[in-house]
Amino acid sequence: MIIYWKLFLSFLITNLLGYGGGPATIPLIKNDVVNRHHWLTSLDFQEAFAMGNSLPGPIATKMAGYIGYKVGGLIGSFVAVFATVIPSLFLMILMMSILYRNRHSIRVKRMTSYVKPIIVVLLGLLTYESFSESILSIGILQVIFIALCTFLLMEKLKIHPAIIVFVALAYGAINL
């Protein structure tokens, strides 16, 4: 019983402290899981992280699910994922429903328009990071080629992004 409680607290605290989404919490989780509780060795953790990175989907929940499973079986997995997801989701629903209830007030409408440029900056930075990271790993020619194809398929031919992602994955598996 005590192990589930520890798992819960560990993933609750690391995720609430980890501002900036999944990737930002990884060092915190590592510190807690490896250095404090000794649930995994540093090497185990690295391996799990590498594996998590080569699978799709959010990284924080994959790590929580796997570490929880290692420590406490299926229940452990559930507890760790629950602690990762639910508290921040609850806050999110609370804040959004306050906004939604007052959506016709001028102040709330103003919020929407004030915040939008920051979202533009954030998305712009993510775009920049994707390209710069990618140029370092596969070279500028590949990046230009893939990006151009994506743009044409998505914007001009209006092909569903799922299909484009599949094509890109296949191209990467064969060619890179």
Binding site: G57, L125, S134, H160, V165
Partner: protein, 191 residues
């Protein structure tokens, strides 16, 4: 029917989202705003802003809230499970059976080839949000916001959550009557 759509939308965007949280944002946008038309641009942008302000993984916050908004409690559970369950199961299965998955060359190739695709999607989304931000603010104001925001986030490394929180507080506490058009007429009357 709606629950099935919720599951499909979040399963698809999560399983195709290589590279963690941020890379799935354009995919979620595509499903929620364009494919199923559950939300308008504005609302999605608000969800993204609040999501960025709060701690914890961004995907599950987006999925959980949007699921909740569309399909209530069941929608929320549905969306979160569709987002996280398939990959957690894969992760546990693969890590407990084989150990050197990460060194397989074609897996790395797949991972690397997807990054520019995500880059283009994020770029397109950035442009869309830029265009739609013009409906609430004037272009020079947006430019100032963009430049100040960029400097604060990229060069001074201030967490975007803090900036968003400040802007939200400002929007709440700024007196309602002094909008830019009003202040102009005030000045005009004074002279």
């Amino acid at each position: 029917m709606k629950q099935k759509d919720i599951f499909v939308a979040f399963f698809r965007s999560s399983i195709l989202g290589y590279g963690g949280g941020p890379s799935t944002i354009p995919l979620i946008y595509k499903e929620v705003v364009e494919t199923f038309k559950w939300m308008k641009d504005e609302e999605f942008s608000d969800v993204l802003a609040i999501g960025n302000m709060l701690p914890g993984p961004i995907n599950t916050k987006l999925a959980g809230y949007i699921g909740y908004r569309i399909g209530g409690m069941i929608g929320m559970i549905n969306a979160v499970l569709a987002t996280i369950l398939p990959t957690i199961i894969l992760m546990i299965l693969l890590l407990t059976t084989l150990t050197s998955f990460k060194d397989i060359k074609w897996v790395n190739g797949m991972k690397e080839s997807i990054v520019p695709v995500v880059g283009v999607m994020l770029g397109v989304l950035t442009w869309q949000f830029y265009k739609s931000s013009k409906s609430g603010l004037k272009t020079p104001t947006i430019m100032i916001h963009l430049i100040v925001g960029l400097i604060l986030i990229q060069f001074l490394h201030i967490h975007p959550g803090i900036i968003i929180a400040c802007l939200l507080l400002f929007a709440v506490f700024q007196p309602v009557k002094t909008t830019s058009s009003n202040s102009k007429t005030d000045k005009g009357e004074a002279t």
